[in-house]
Amino acid sequence: MLQKKECVAMLLAGGQGSRLYNLTEKNAKPAVPFGGKYRIIDFTLSNCVNSGIDTVGVLTQYQPYVLNEYIGSGQPWDLDKTYGGVKILPPYQRANGAYWYKGTANAIYQNMGFVERYDPDYVLILSGDHIYKMNYNRMLDFHKEHGADCTIAVIDVPLSEASRFGIMNTNDDGSIYEFEEKPANPKSTKASMGIYIFNTAMLKKYLEEDDNDPASANDFGKNVIPKMLADGARMFAYQFVGYWKDVGTIQSLWEANMDLTGEEPKLDLRTPEMRILSRNSTRPPHFAGENAKIVNSLVTEGCEIYGTVINSVLFGGVKVAEGATVRDSVVFEECEIGEGSVVEYSILDCRTDTGTDCRIGEPINSGKGIALLGADMYIPDGTVIGGGVMTSDYKKEGK
C-alpha cells in the first residue's frame, strides 16, 4: 500500500560536466570521486538522509554505469527502504514516444509520475554537483513558515564574483522580486545554490505550462523561476550559511579537495551530526613505510606510502613508492606513483600509474595550471608532462 511522504527529493544527476574534461569521459559528474573516499553525490545523498528525507529520485542520462553501480540499492546511505528510498530515474519510453531529458525542468516534468506516487506536499530539487553539508529540513520549515510557493536556497558570495552566479534580489522579508542570471552589475550577493523547494501542485502546474511552451529551454533557472516570478508567485530566498562549492571545473574540484586539509579545514568531515556517508570499498588500513613523510594531507584505506606526500588528497589504494613525491595534488583510487617520480599540482584519475622518475605537472606557483591525467593509463619511465596539460594519451592496453 502506498503511503504519503511529506517531501520527496529529486536529484538532477544527468549532466555531462564537460568542464571536468577527461574526468567525466566515462563518468557522470555526480559520480566523480572526491575527498579521498567519496563521490560528489555523497554530499547531497547524505544531506537528504541527515535531513530525514528518505525518498530520493536520481535523474540520470549521461554515462550512468558508474553512478548506477555506486548508488546500487542505496544501502550505504540507509536509502534501501521498503517504501521510498533511492531510485534511479533514466529517461524512458511511453505510449506516445520517447524523449531525452531536454533540460532540468523537463527532466522533473517527465518524472512527475514518480513524484506523485508518494503524494508529497513538497518537492525538493537538488543538483548532484555541489559540495556542502546542509539540513534541508530547516529550509523546508522556512518554506512552510513563509507560506511560499517556491523557496530557493541562496548563499552570500563576494560581490566581485556575483556576476558568475544566478543572483536573487530580495525584499526585506526574504521574498524574491527579481532573478538575474549572471548579471554584469549585480544588485545583491545572494547566489542561487540550485536548491529549490516547491509546493507539489505549483510545481506540476508550472512544469506543464513550461512543457507547452515550445520556446522554453525547459530549465529551472532560465524559464520556470522567471515565469513564476512574473506571475507573482510567493517566492522566498532561504539564506544558507556554511561551506558550499560548485565543483564543476578542474580548478574548483582541486580547491574543494584542498579545503579538506589543514588543522582547521574549511570543510570539516568530522561532524557526527552531519556525517557524509559513502559506499565502502573493503580495503585494509593504510601503511606508512620506513621513509614515509606525510604532511598536511588526507590518506585513506589501502594506501601504501613509502615516499613523500605533502598538501595532497590520496584516495583508496594509492601507492607512492620510495623516493617519489606527491605535492599539491589529488590522486584518485588505485594510482601508483613509481620510484623517483614527482607529481605536482595535478589531478590523477583512477588507476593511472607512473613509471620511475616521471615528472607530472609543475609547481603550484609556476602559473601553468593543473595537470590532469585521465583514468587507466601507464606513464612510461622518465616521462615529463607539463603543468596545465590534460591528457588521456597513455591508456593501458585494452582501455
Partner: protein
Amino acid sequence: MSVTGIIFSNIHDNNLPELTRVRTMASVPFGCRYRFIDFTLSNMVNSGVKSIGIITQENYQSLADHIGTGKDWDLASRSGGIKLISPNITAFAQDNRRAYVTTRLESLKSATVYISSRNEDLVVLSDCDVICNVDFSDMISFHVKTGADITLAVKKTTLSTELAEKNVIIKSDNDGRVNDLLVYPRDVTGDHDISLNIMVMKREKLLDIIADASAHGYTSFNTDVLLKNINSYKIMSYSYEGYFACVSSLAEYYACSMELLNPDVFRALLGVKDRPVYTKVRNSPPTRYDEGSYVRSSLLADGCVIRGTVENSIIFRGVTVDKGAVVRNSVVMQGGYIGKNCSINCSVLDKNAMIQEGRNLSGHQTLPFYVPKNSII
C-alpha cells in the same frame, strides 16, 4: 556441495582476560579496523558460505553490535545469512545446570536447533580467534575428494614447550589420515602439525556426534569425539601453508599486532587478491595528517588526526595524536586520544583511552602496558 558455517565466539576468552573483560574473544579489536571474528567470517564468505551461525555464551553485546544485520559481510540474507545463536538456558534449568557452557561440545549442543534447521550438506566449524586468510573451498574439496568423515585444518609449527601446552597436536600418516591427537601436551617441542580449530564434516554427521555426546555426557570434542573414534571415523588432516596466528596472551596479541607491520605478513593476511577481509563499515572520513606529523612504519585506519609522531604502531579508527606526542611500538584502539607531548611506548591502549597532555607510558615488548577501555590517564 553446499556449506554452512559455525563459529565459536567465546572460545579461549580466558587467554586474553584484559581484552575480553568487556567483550567476547570474537570481538577483540585487531589490525587497525578489524575484530578477530572478521577473519573467519571473511574466510567463510570468500569461500562461498552463505549461512553462518555464531555460537555465543556471554558478554556478547559488543559482538552483536559489530555483526549488526550482517550486511557488511553480504550476509543480510533471507535464506541464511548470519545468525547469533544465544545461549540456550531454559527457564526450568536447575541452578547447577545453568552454569555456562564451557567446551566446544557443550556449546554445540546449544546450537542443535540451528544446525538441524539448515539444509546444507556440509558444515565448517571454526574458532573466532584464528587469524588467517584461508580458502575453505579448497579444504572442502579436499574433504569431499578424500571421503573423510571429518577434516581438520593443521599447520606445521615449531613448538616451544609453552606453545605446545596451549595447542592440540595432530599426528597423521603419509596419506594425511589422522592417527593420534595430543591435547595440550606437556614437554613437547619441535616441528608438529597443530590444529587450527577448523573442521569440516557432514551436517548430519555433526548432529549424530552431538546427539551421541549428549547421551553419554561427553564434554570435550577433542578427547571424547575425535580421540575415541580415531579408528572408526576417517579423520583427515588438511595442511594450511599460509599465515596463521592464534592469540593466547596479551603479549602474543601485541606481538601479532606488531607482526602486521611486516609487509609480507600484511599482504598474506590482508592483501590477498579476491579474498578481502570484511568488517563493520563505520563511515570514518580519511585520516588527516596535519603540519608536524611524522609517521613511519605504521598502519593506520581512517578517521584519525595525526599531528605528532607515530612509529612502528597500529593505529585504529578515529585516533588523535596531538602535537609533540610520540607513539612508538604501540597499539592504539578506536577513539584513542593522545594529548600533546605525551610519550607512549610498548603499550596497548583499549578503546577510547584518553591520555592527557605530557603523560609518559611505557611497557616492554614482553609485557606491554595495557590501558583499559575508556580510561583517562
